[in-house]
Amino acid sequence: MIRQFGPTEAWFIIAAVRWTLLLSAIAFIGGGIAGLGVALARTAPVAWLRLAATGYIQLFQGTPLLMQLFLVFFGSTMLGSGVDPLVAAAIALTLNAAAFLGEIWRGCIQAIPTGQWEAATALGLRHLARMRYVILPQAGKIAIAPTVGFLVLLVKSTSLASIIGFVELTRAGQIINNVTFRPFLVFGLVAIIYFVLCWPLSRLSQMLEQRFGTVRR
């Protein structure tokens, strides 16, 4: 039986945005915290920490996000208790975001001119204090624009959670398309909703880039 595409169907899709937003928020916060750790390890004066962080980033940037999702989803099922698709998607996206944010923030940390590092060292600050009071406040400023840019990528990435059965925006679209057979209408609406979420962020990122994009010497 084919259902008509009416307000109920449209609302089902629009209401699913909250799951996309929730998943994005979890991955962004979790990925942000872990990503800071990755960025700090990647720029640490300890060789094995740098090596470990580099390996982590290479691993997550060199393999498809879909495979990472599958490994967490099927892996947790195999290791005993199966997990909820939301939990699996949140874990995989957090691990993935940590690698990308770690790499972005590493660049920002290393963009701080050597003079700042040397001045901080000359003032007698140890590595952590130097990071905390001198480098990170300055790196944070140039990190804003690319971080907002990454947020766009993250929101789009959450669509892959639909493949392991989590009902967010894309999966809601698939469900409605399966009963109404109006692919242009349904996926058009889904695409427009993603666009409404992402486009302002893209523009914001561009604006911030012009404002904070350069390091003042």
Partner: protein
């Protein structure tokens, strides 16, 4: 943690996985080549074309960059047949990949073209080159050489995201893994191996791009 790993089924399917990898390589390489073509044409339109073309290219880029690849695939695969255009899974996958990477690569190529100074173009014209020759030798070639690293990392991201086309049952590595998973239920082992294959493929593509750079952009006196 009392799970026993069994890679026997995966090993038994090694030729299937190898074939799947080859399909992924083919699909990605085709999408990269066509995507580069789209990117060069769009970047040309955006930097030198008349206003309506510039505007159209701008809309294309913004629309693609602010929506998920998966939704683009669904629009092409499920949407086009309603408009009377019938594509097989793999054709739809290739089209989606080209449309997607074309938008990202356009911005990269455009940045390269804009990095060429006006004086270079004038010098080319003064030497008696025709406009098309100026575009090819003075603008495009150095522009591509400048943005080559950004372009190739975008291409590797494309290869990785090609795993998503398995959702419309296009035949490639992830689809092979999914079939194998449905047959043997050894999902964890299979996806570990396939993830490792993707990692290997990205190293492989990265090496290939480096070799291409050495051959194509080698100039007398230029450092490798």
């Amino acid at each position: 943690m009392n799970y026993v790993f069994q890679f026997g089924d995966v090993w038994a399917a090694r030729w299937d996985l190898l074939w799947g990898s080859w399909l992924t390589i083919q699909l990605s390489a085709a999408a990269m080549a066509l995507g580069l073509l789209v990117a060069v044409l769009c970047a040309l339109g955006k930097t030198m074309g008349p206003k309506p073309i510039r505007w159209a290219v701008e809309c294309y880029i913004e629309a693609i960059r602010n929506t998920p690849f998966l939704v683009q695939i669904f629009l092409i695969f499920f949407g086009l047949p309603r408009a009377g255009i019938y594509l097989s899974s793999n054709e739809a996958a290739l089209l989606a990949m080209v449309v997607n990477v074309g938008a990202y690569a356009t911005e990269i190529v455009r940045a390269g073209i804009e990095s060429i100074s006006r004086g270079q173009i004038e010098a080319g014209l003064a030497l008696g080159l025709r406009p098309l020759q100026v575009f090819r030798y003075v603008v495009l070639f150095p522009a591509l050489s400048t943005v080559y690293p950004a372009l190739t990392s975008q291409f590797i991201l494309l290869m990785l995201s090609s795993s998503v086309v398995s959702t419309i049952s296009a035949q490639e590595l992830t689809a092979t893994a999914n079939d194998l998973q449905a047959r043997t239920f050894r999902s964890f082992e299979i996806y570990i191996v396939v993830t490792a294959i993707y990692l290997l493929l990205s190293v492989l593509f990265s090496g290939a791009f480096d070799a291409i750079r050495r051959v194509v952009f080698a100039r007398p006196g230029a450092r490798a």
